[in-house]
């Protein structure tokens, strides 16, 4: 059963990823990306990381996709078609990507992974305890650094997005 679900998810993800990078309509390509992200959340559910799947659905599918759709609607006409790269460039790039993919796959398949058979379930409280613990294996410092980074990114985004008015006002004062 899990095999079938995994293969269906893999096919959905790959097909919609290709559609997302080749579609000529901007909004459609964003919606295809949404399907890919939902497929990734499905994989997290399959390997029993429910918390991570919920994060993926809320932050990516709920937040980032909406943000990108906003920017598309602010910047483009909906019916506008994107210009595509030259055919020669497309072919060259796809050959290079296929070569790189072949290199990756030969490296992966020639390495002997020491897989540990397990059916452990990670609960949300485990992740929370690991994030907030001071001892060995704790992540309190990166957790705080990420919170400061998010605050800085928020302030930076606000200032960049309405930068002109702010600087004008400053000039008047000076």
């Amino acid at each position: 059963m899990e095999r079938i679900i995994f293969y269906v998810l893999a096919v959905i993800m790959i097909v919609f990823a290709i559609a997302s990078v080749t579609s000529r309509k901007m909004l459609r390509s964003v919606i295809y990306l949404l399907f890919v992200l939902c497929g990734i959340a499905g994989i997290y559910f399959l390997i029993d990381y429910n918390f991570l799947a919920a994060i993926q659905l809320t932050v990516y599918a709920g937040g980032i996709i909406v943000l990108i759709i906003f920017s598309v609607l602010l910047v483009h006409h909906i019916e506008m078609e994107l210009e595509i790269a030259k055919i020669s460039k497309q072919i060259l790039t796809s050959i290079a990507c296929l070569l790189g993919l072949g290199l990756f796959l030969t490296t992966i398949y020639s390495y002997e992974f020491k897989v540990v058979e397990n059916t452990l379930t990670t609960t949300t409280s485990d992740i929370g305890a690991a994030l907030l613990s001071y001892g060995a294996g704790g992540f309190i410092l990166p957790f705080e650094v990420i919170s400061v980074l998010l605050l800085a990114a928020m302030i930076g985004a606000i200032i960049i997005a309405k930068g002109k008015k702010l600087t004008d006002k400053k000039d008047e004062i000076v």
Binding site: M13, M26, V36, I64, E117, I146, M154
Partner: protein, 105 residues
């Protein structure tokens, strides 16, 4: 771990996703499309973190915690990129890569 699925199959899928993202990153000529490709690449690497954590070191949490951090950084990066794109559109009324020269200097 997923019953009946080996780590090789999952790593194959994530490698394919990564290179699709790379293809889009190189061939697209629009800033928002490039942002979408970056999201694909980041997501492929996040699945790798999680899967290797689950299959090779199931009693640890490092992979999960790092993927949380990657998701947070990706969200911050997207917010900044969108604000830059909107500011750029206000100045030069375009988001095509070849017309963006005002930020060079």
């Amino acid at each position: 771990m997923i019953p009946g699925i080996s780590i090789y199959e999952i790593l194959t899928v994530t490698s394919i996703l990564f290179f699709i993202g790379l293809y889009g990153f190189i061939t697209r000529k629009n800033l928002i499309s490039i942002l979408i490709s970056i999201e694909l690449i980041l997501n492929a690497s996040v699945i790798n973190f999680v899967v290797i954590n689950k299959y090779l070191y199931p009693d640890m949490l490092q992979g999960v915690v790092f993927s949380l951090f990657i998701i947070a950084v990706a969200a911050a990066e997207t917010a900044l990129a969108v604000s830059i794109i909107i500011g750029l559109y206000r100045q030069i009324s375009s988001v095509e890569v070849k017309e963006i020269e005002t930020m060079k200097h």
